[in-house]
C-alpha cells in the first residue's frame, strides 16, 4: 500500500499529505528561473486544472518523475558499475551494445536495454515445492519497500515529494521492510542455499540496523528535527565564507558518516557485505530460485536501496542539495544533489571493486564489537559538541581537540583490539 493509496482511503492522512505536497513546491522569492525549473514545468502542465484534480496530478507527476528518474539511474548504474569494475581490472567493460539494428556502439550504452529485454523474455520458473504466494510476493514487497523510501528525500530546494514531520524515521521504517522481503524470498524458494542466505540476511540486517540507526541520531540531536528538509536547513551557511556547515565536516559528523556508510553497505547487501548472495558459497543466495523479471526486480530493489541510502547520507551529512561554496549557488540545487549522489554511488562501486567478502563471524563481530560502541561514543561526542556550541576563541580550538580525541581515541583502541588477531599472514610454503 503506497502512501498515495493510503491517503485515498484515509482523509485524515490526506490532510497532511495535501499540505505537505503543495506547500514545499511554493518557490522562494529569490530563486533563479533555473532553480525553479521543475516547478515551472509542473505548473505548465497542471495549472489549468481545478483544485482537487490539480493536486492529484501534481502527486502523480511527482511519483512518476521520481520513479522514472531512479529507474533510468538504475539502468545507467548497472552499466557504470560494470564499466568501472572492468576498468579497475584493466578491462574495457561492456562496450559492444549500442543502438539496435545499427552499427553504433555508443560505448555500450545499449547494454541496460539489452539486459532488460533479456530479463523480460526469460522464462519465469517457480520451483514445484516452493511456497508460491511468498515466492511471488517477495520481489514485489522488496521493490515496494525500497520505492517507498524515496518519498521523503529532498532532491532539491523545495523538491520533496512528501514533507513529513518524522521523515527520517519514515525512511528507515520503510527500509526496514526490505529484510523481511529477503527472508521471504529465501524461505519461500524451498532451497537450502536460499534458506541459508535468508538466515545470513537476517543476522546481518539485525546487526547492522543498530549502527545505522545510532549513527544518524547525533544528526537529529544537532538539527533538532526529524524532518529531512529540517536537517538540510540545519546545514545552511558557511563558516569564514567558504567552509560549509555540513555535518560531515565536524568530528562527530565524520565518524557518523563513516559508520552510516559502512552500515548502508551492509544494509543494501553490497560487497564486501554481500553474504546473503555470496556467489562462491551460496550460488546466488536468496536469488537462486528466481529468474526472469522477478530476478530483475530484486536487482532493481537492491540498486534502489543503494540509491536511497546514498541520498539519505547526502541529506544527513553532506548538506543535502546545498552548494559547497557560496558563488556556486548559481548551479541549481537538484544538480548539486545529483552530483553528491553520484559521488557516493561511485564510492559504493569503488568499494565493491576493492574489498573481498567478509566471513559471517567477522561481519557480526565488526558490527557488535566495533560499530555499535563507536556509534554510542559518537553520540556522546555529539552531545559534548552541542553543549559547547557557545565556546569561542581559543576555546573553539579546545572544543575541536576534545571532540577529535573523543572520536579518534576509541577508534584507535578498538581498531587495534579488533585487528589484533588478524596480523598480516605469512605464507610458509609460498
Amino acid at each position: 500500500m503506497t502512501l498515495v493509496q493510503l491517503s485515498r482511503v484515509t482523509p485524515g492522512v490526506s490532510d497532511w499529505f495535501f499540505q505537505s505536497l503543495s506547500s514545499p513546491f511554493i518557490a522562494a522569492a529569490g530563486d533563479s528561473r533555473l532553480e525553479r525549473l521543475p516547478i515551472i514545468a509542473r505548473d505548465l502542465l497542471t495549472s489549468r486544472l481545478p483544485e482537487p484534480w490539480r493536486w492529484w496530478l501534481n502527486s502523480l507527476l511527482a511519483i512518476l518523475v521520481v520513479l522514472f528518474g531512479f529507474a533510468i539511474l538504475f539502468a545507467l548504474l548497472t552499466l557504470v558499475e560494470r564499466k568501472v569494475l572492468g576498468r579497475v581490472q584493466n578491462r574495457p567493460g561492456p562496450n559492444r551494445t549500442g543502438l539496435p539494428f545499427t552499427k553504433l556502439r555508443l560505448f555500450g550504452l545499449g547494454q541496460p536495454l539489452a539486459d532488460g529485454i533479456k530479463m523480460l523474455t526469460k522464462e519465469d520458473i517457480v520451483p514445484r515445492s516452493a511456497d508460491k504466494l511468498l515466492h511471488f510476493l517477495a520481489p514485489v514487497a522488496l521493490l515496494a519497500f525500497s520505492i517507498l523510501t524515496f518519498a521523503v528525500l529532498p532532491f532539491g530546494r523545495n523538491l520533496v515529494p512528501v514533507e513529513l514531520d518524522a521523515g527520517i524515521l519514515y525512511f528507515f521504517a520503510a527500509g526496514a521492510g526490505t529484510e523481511l522481503a529477503v527472508f521471504m524470498a529465501g524461505w519461500a524458494s524451498r532451497n537450502k542455499y536460499s534458506l541459508l542466505a535468508a538466515m545470513r540476511a537476517l543476522a546481518q540486517l539485525i546487526s547492522y540496523e543498530l549502527p545505522l540507526l545510532l549513527s544518524f541520531v547525533p544528526v537529529i540531536m544537532m538539527a533538532g528535527t526529524l524532518s529531512t528538509t529540517g536537517v538540510v536547513e540545519a546545514q545552511a551557511g558557511w563558516k569564514f565564507g567558504f567552509i560549509p556547515h555540513w555535518h560531515v565536516l565536524t568530528p562527530w559528523g565524520f565518524a557518523a558518516f563513516v559508520i552510516f556508510m559502512v552500515s548502508a553497505l551492509a544494509e543494501s547487501n553490497r560487497s564486501p557485505f554481500d553474504l546473503p548472495e555470496a556467489e562462491s558459497e551460496l550460488i546466488a543466495g536468496h536469488l537462486t530460485e528466481y529468474s526472469g523479471f522477478k530476478y530483475a526486480l530484486f536487482f532493481m530493489a537492491e540498486y534502489f536501496g543503494m540509491c536511497a541510502l546514498s541520498a539519505m547520507a547526502v541529506t544527513l551529512f553532506l548538506g543535502g542539495w546545498r552548494a559547497p561554496l557560496p558563488f556556486l549557488e548559481i548551479v541549481p540545487s537538484y544538480v548539486w544533489f545529483a552530483l553528491k549522489l553520484f559521488a557516493l554511488l561511485f564510492g559504493f562501486i569503488w568499494i565493491r571493486a576493492t574489498f573481498p567478502r567478509l566471513r559471517i563471524d567477522q561481519l557480526t563481530r565488526f558490527a557488535w564489537k566495533f560499530l555499535v560502541p563507536m556509534a554510542l561514543i559518537n553520540l556522546g561526542t555529539a552531545a559534548f559538541w552541542s553543549l559547547t556550541c557557545n565556546w569561542s576563541g581559543p576555546l573553539q580550538l579546545a572544543r575541536w581537540a576534545i571532540a577529535l580525541a573523543l572520536v579518534a581515541g576509541p577508534f584507535v583502541v578498538m581498531g587495534r583490539k579488533l585487528s589484533r588477531d588478524y596480523a598480516p599472514r605469512t605464507y610458509r610454503y609460498a
Partner: protein, 253 residues
C-alpha cells in the same frame, strides 16, 4: 591502525581505474572479432588435407591408403578409394570424411601419414547450427592448398617441402640413372637406337616417400634444395607481418 590497509587497497584500485584510461597498454583485452591474437605455430585443432598446385581435388597428396582411417582412435575418418572404369585404384580418395564432432585432435593421423597429405588445421571458428551434417567435413571442405599449410605452420611446412623435394630429386636421379642405364644397355644391345623412350618422372603426389622421412622423426635435411612450390616462403610470410590468422575461404570453415 584499523583502516590503513583498506585505504591502501582503495588506492590500488583507483590507480588501476585511472591508469587504464590514460595508458591503453594496461588493457589486456583483445576485442575478438576485430582483433585476433596470433596463434602459436604449434596450435592445432582438426586435420585437413594438403593439395599441391591449384586444383583442389586433383592435387590432393592423399593416395587413399587408409592408414589414417585405421589408426584414428575415435574412428572419425572415413575413406573410400577412387577407382577408374576398369576398377583399378587411381590412388585418390573418392570419399574422405572427417567427423570433427568425433575427432579428438590427437594428431595421430598426421603422424602415420607417409605422404604428408594430412596436417593439423588452426581454424577454430567452427560453430555450426546443424549438429550432424555441417560438422562432418567432406573432401572438398578438407582440401586446402600447400600455401595455406606454409602460412599456418611455416617451419614445419618448410621442413616437409624440403623433404618432399629431396625425395623427388632422388627419385628423379634414380629414374635418370635407370634411364641412362637402360639407354646404355640399349646402346650396347642396339647401338642403332638413338632415342630410347624415357619414362616421365613420377608425379609428386605419388612419390613413394618412406616413413623414415617423416618430419617428426627425420633429421632436418640440408636446405640446399629449394622447395618445390615456393608460393609463399616463411620469410615472406613473416615479412608481410600479418599477425591475423588468415581467413581462408574454405568451404565448411
Amino acid at each position: 591502525m584499523l583502516g590503513i590497509g583498506l585505504l591502501k587497497g582503495l588506492g590500488v584500485t583507483a590507480k588501476n581505474l585511472v591508469g587504464s584510461f590514460h595508458d591503453p597498454a594496461r588493457l589486456v583485452t583483445t576485442e575478438y572479432p576485430e582483433q585476433r591474437t596470433k596463434l602459436p605455430e604449434n596450435y592445432r585443432n582438426f586435420p585437413f588435407l594438403v593439395y599441391d598446385g591449384t586444383a583442389a581435388i586433383d592435387g590432393l597428396r592423399c593416395v587413399a591408403c587408409k592408414i589414417c582411417e585405421v589408426e584414428c582412435p575415435p574412428q572419425c575418418i572415413y575413406i573410400i578409394p577412387d577407382r577408374d572404369e576398369k576398377g583399378r585404384p587411381t590412388k585418390k580418395p573418392k570419399v574422405f570424411d572427417i567427423d570433427i564432432s568425433v575427432c579428438m585432435s590427437c594428431q595421430i593421423c598426421v603422424e602415420v601419414c607417409p605422404f604428408d597429405a594430412i596436417k593439423m588445421d588452426q581454424q577454430y571458428e567452427i560453430a555450426e547450427a546443424d549438429r550432424f551434417d555441417r560438422l562432418l567435413l567432406k573432401r572438398e571442405a578438407l582440401a586446402k592448398p600447400n600455401s595455406y599449410y606454409q602460412e599456418i605452420h611455416p617451419a614445419e611446412a618448410a621442413q616437409v617441402d624440403a623433404m618432399l623435394a629431396e625425395a623427388r630429386r632422388k627419385a628423379d636421379a634414380k629414374a635418370k640413372a635407370a634411364a641412362e642405364a637402360a639407354a646404355a644397355k640399349a646402346a650396347t644391345a642396339k647401338p642403332g637406337a638413338a632415342n630410347p623412350p624415357t619414362r616421365p618422372p613420377a608425379p609428386s603426389g605419388s612419390t613413394p616417400a618412406t616413413a623414415a622421412m617423416k618430419p617428426a622423426t627425420a633429421a632436418m635435411p640440408e636446405p640446399a634444395v629449394p622447395p618445390v612450390q615456393p608460393t609463399q616462403t616463411p620469410a615472406e610470410n613473416s615479412a608481410t607481418g600479418n599477425p591475423v590468422a588468415p581467413k581462408t575461404g574454405t568451404p565448411g570453415a
